[in-house]
């Protein structure tokens, strides 16, 4: 199929960006979306032009590196997949595809479609862990029984890949879904309960520091999340936050 691509080009964080138009021909429907961009880049290099910069690594939907806003949707038109898993059979001959980076104040553009998501790391550094040192003498794993239901819920929250689609999809650019997924995972497990109060306070504080917006319960994040992280986690984080605020006073 032949397509017209409209792609955000921006030399670096300081430069002003703009949309550029590129035609691509003979795209096979078996290609992944990123392989289609590989074809474009090969073409640009052969024409002596600069290829389009975009983040990607595992190309199997788990590393969270890829991050494109395609036709107004994070990770494109399909549900519960990342951009690297999106295939060209979701498009048809003659389509125009608009490709932009994540748009959020807390995710500044580095180049073209690549953004800086280190704000997520800093939220994690503020409390996204259980304070246990490595040692060969940790208690036996089975001495902490965990109800299957809780373990499964914790797992579901823990599958977040930290891609940032939730922030990009949110009209307020809020990071509540991301932050609440980690808070929930650890709040649901006995190992995480000891520090639950400090964790939620510190992580939420850091989230605000980074310039993410507030949550207005719109739910776009849940719809666009490639891993189907549930809004329930935000509710749980709000409860955790409230109870922590009451205790800390």
């Amino acid at each position: 199929m032949d397509l017209t691509l409209k792609i955000w080009r921006q030399k670096n964080a300081q430069a002003k960006g703009k949309m550029e138009t590129y035609p691509v021909k003979d795209i096979s429907e078996d290609m992944s979306f990123l392989e289609m961009l590989d074809v474009l880049n090969e073409q640009l290099i052969n024409d002596g032009k600069e290829p389009v910069a975009f983040d990607h690594d595992c190309r199997e939907g788990i590393c969270g590196m890829c991050s494109l806003y395609i036709n107004g949707q994070a990770h494109g038109p399909d549900r519960e997949i990342t951009t690297c898993q999106l295939h060209m059979r979701s498009f048809k001959n003659g389509d125009t595809i608009v490709i932009e980076p994540w748009r959020a104040a807390a995710f500044p553009v580095i180049k073209d479609l690549v953004t800086d998501r280190s704000a997520f790391d800093r939220i994690m550094n503020a409390g996204g862990f259980v304070s246990v040192n490595t040692s060969g003498n940790t208690i036996d794993a089975n001495s902490i029984p965990i109800p299957k239901h809780d373990a499964d819920k914790a797992f579901d929250a823990a599958t977040c890949i930290g891609c940032g689609a939730c922030v990009a999809s949110c009209k307020n650019a809020s990071a509540m879904l991301f932050t609440s997924a980690k808070v929930s995972q650890l709040a649901l497990l006995p190992q995480g309960k000891v520090e639950a109060h400090e964790r939620v306070m510190n992580m939420v504080h850091q989230m605000d520091e980074e310039g993410f917006g507030n949550c207005t319960n719109t739910g776009a994040c849940e719809v666009e999340c490639p891993k189907g992280i549930s809004l329930e986690n935000i509710a749980r984080m709000n409860r955790e936050y409230l109870s922590a605020s009451l205790v800390s006073e």
């Binding site: 392989e35 090969e42 290829p51 595992c58 199997e60 790391d121 940790t138 794993a141 373990a151 930290g162």
Partner: protein, 666 residues
């Protein structure tokens, strides 16, 4: 230099504990004045960085991704082995040790493997304490499953995302130390050379990938945990950025490279669909618990299927060849990975392959759907002869077990694997070879260590499923933090290493010159053009089956591609900016050198073992034939200025606890 593996004295089950009791320590106050660089933040690097920082060392960690959480360990699916014996099925440290040595086709170092088995149980305890949500049973206890090549259930898992959960555990441990300032994290940084001062590893030169700036970083020790080199084949299940550069740089500075030809080709991957293909996707080994592998019995049926005139579901039972069950009745579809991969290639080469390319076999769940469906119908008191109901219930059971994998398959291939068999074909997945290390995980460069997939030590010539995660975490959490102190005990009075030393300036200049060369070369072909050509030579002649003639040709072709690459590569953009083509150019340049050593190693090993199959060395039935008399050694290569001229050093492998036997899965 002679190779000393520094294996401690004493019986195998006492070596590690005695060694730990006898090696030197660094006191807490002195740790604060010692710096350690860790390159790579996967399971090995991430767990090492976190543990070393907890102990009090100043750690500088580097990853080329935008966050340590994205290292490719994250993509591991199936699980992690540990000799916990929670299932009371007779598992023990010794059995895990034995299975790993046998699975590795008797080409690994006994003492290292025993230690790995010994610390495996600690890994599970540690990860649970960190909040890793492993799968559990209804009673709240941890659940286990079974993997290929073993007879116990010792694999812990978190659905099909075990690697993700373990890596996020290590990442959270790192995050805690980053927050405390004990780890200084360098995201989007790539190590481009090792700096040696006075014969010791004392730092690295790194490029800030965001700004293009070249930076000097010093330390008292350098840990390389940058993973494997499967991308030398261009197409593999590795991430796009996975590369050999850090390993290759230390090799060129004096670290021996061991067994480069030991590559794992995983039998169940989604087949190549066309020339545009950029990477291959794995379908977990766990699928072989329930899927049956087959090709058509008659060539004309295979041809009709390839032409699209016949559907696999139309083929009668007697017209199918379940070749693994036929050839290996004892292990059937669950033979080890190397055996399953070769059997698939044999059928496809003989003309029985399916898919338009002829390079695919079927992995069929129809029988499992019926089996589970009948069971579910009986349990719920329904009619087990109601075909429609049984099929429906069976599909639900399969979905509960493998739902995410089936969904992934459907997204990529656009076929519904509940209705028609999956098509699979072997693909490059893991490299058992790597940097040679002694028992302490130190390379042949003093102060330079290698951990995880980057080293060679534990898997011999073939790795068993669910053992990569175990090894990465064992190295990072439980081995390196102890052994590195023994070396650093000499450095308590050294003080900070200055980056103004001439050695840093020299290494930096070399790095800068090479990068400038790429930008100024202005050739006619992109980096990928050369990488794809290299991959094709590697796959055709240094892939699943190798012979002397093909390997000799491959060496000449690799040299040819390398010459053309340096003359004709085109790298657009500038030095001092975010430039992904420039990153790739450096990595492919190193792959082009490694590839030659890889082929050379395969050529000298005139035996078949594990993932290395030499056509000249096979039994009458076409099985791999080892030559223990002549090849029971580790081939450790010393760089001498040209990969083709590398010098071979042999570390003889002594089996004192396990008797060498021909592997049989029949």
């Amino acid at each position: 230099m002679s190779l000393d593996a520094k294996i401690p004295e004493g019986p195998i089950d006492k070596k590690w504990i005695n060694h730990k009791n006898n090696i030197r320590l660094v006191n807490p106050a002195n740790k604060r004045s010692i710096d350690i660089i860790v390159v790579g933040t996967g399971l090995a690097g991430g767990s090492a960085a976190a543990s070393l920082a907890e102990m009090g060392y100043n750690v500088k960690a580097f990853c080329f991704q935008d966050s340590p959480r994205r290292a490719h360990s994250i993509a591991a699916q199936g699980g992690i082995n540990a000799a916990k014996n929670y299932q009371n099925d007779g598992d023990s440290t010794y059995r895990l040790f034995y299975d790993t040595v046998k699975g590795g086709d008797y080409r690994s170092r006994e003492a290292n493997v025993y230690r790995l088995a010994e610390v495996s149980a600690n890994i599970i305890d540690q990860c649970v304490a960190q909040g890793v949500p492993f799968a559990r049973e209804y009673g709240g206890m941890l659940d286990n499953r079974s993997f290929g090549g073993v007879q116990v259930s010792r694999t812990f898992y978190a659905k099909g995302q075990t690697g993700q959960q373990l890596l996020l555990g290590a990442y959270s441990a790192m995050s805690r130390q980053i927050g405390k300032g004990k780890i200084k994290m360098y995201n989007r940084h790539e190590m481009l050379d090792l700096v040696m001062v006075g014969g010791k590893a004392r730092g690295i030169i790194a490029r800030n990938l965001e700004t293009g700036e070249i930076e000097r970083h010093s330390a008292h020790a350098v840990v390389i945990a940058s993973g494997g080199y499967g991308n030398v084949f261009f197409l593999s299940t590795n991430a796009m950025g996975s590369n050999v550069t850090a390993s290759w740089k230390i090799h060129k500075k004096g670290a021996y490279f061991a067994n480069p030809c030991y590559t794992q080709i995983h039998p169940t991957c989604i087949p190549v669909s066309g020339d545009h293909q950029s990477k291959l996707t794995l379908m977990s080994e766990s699928l072989r618990n329930d899927g049956r592998i087959w090709v058509p019995k008659k060539k004309e049926d295979a041809e009709a299927i390839r032409a699209g005139k016949l559907k696999p579901t139309q083929l009668a039972e007697e017209d199918r060849d379940y070749y693994l069950e036929r050839r290996y009745p004892a292990f059937g579809n669950l033979v080890p990975r190397d055996v399953a991969s070769r059997a698939a290639k044999e059928r496809c080469d003989a003309g029985f392959g399916v898919n338009a390319t002829g390079e695919a076999v079927y992995l069929d769940f129809a029988a499992a759907i019926q089996r589970y469906g009948k069971e579910a119908a009986l349990v719920h008191g329904h009619d087990a002869n109601d075909k429609e109901l049984v099929t429906k219930l069976g599909k639900e059971a399969i979905k509960a077990k493998y739902g995410n994998l089936f969904q992934m398959y459907e997204k990529i291939v656009a076929q519904n694997p509940y209705e028609t068999p999956m098509m699979i074909y072997p693909a490059v997945h893991y490299t058992m070879g790597g940097i040679w290390v002694d028992y302490n995980l130190m390379t042949t460069i003093p102060g330079c260590y290698a951990a995880g997939e980057a080293n060679f030590s534990d898997h011999g010539a073939n790795r068993l499923g669910a053992s990569a995660l175990m090894q990465g975490l064992a190295d990072g959490y439980f081995v390196l933090p102890y052994t590195i102190g023994d070396y650093l005990a000499d450095d308590i009075r050294t003080g900070e290493i200055s980056t103004d030393l001439p050695e840093f300036a020299e290494a930096e200049k070399e790095v800068k010159d090479r990068l400038s060369f790429f930008i100024n070369n202005k050739g006619t072909h992109s980096v990928d053009h050369f990488h794809k050509r290299l991959g094709k030579v590697m796959w055709d002649k240094v892939g699943m089956a190798r012979n002397a003639q093909g390997l000799t040709e491959a060496i000449a072709e690799i040299r040819q591609i390398r010459d053309e690459f340096w003359k004709d590569v085109r790298v657009p953009g500038e030095l001092n900016e975010f430039n992904q083509e420039l990153e790739k150019a450096g990595r492919v340049a190193d792959f082009l050198e490694l590839a030659e050593l890889f082929a050379k190693d395969a050529l000298q090993r005139e035996e078949s073992c594990g993932g290395h199959f030499r056509e000249e060395s096979q039994t009458e039935e076409g099985e791999a034939k080892r030559d223990d008399e002549n090849f029971t050694y580790v081939a450790a290569w010393e760089y001498t200025g040209d990969p083709g001229e590398a010098k071979l050093h042999k570390e003889e492998l002594n089996y004192e606890n396990i008797e060498l036997k021909q592997r049989s899965y029949k």
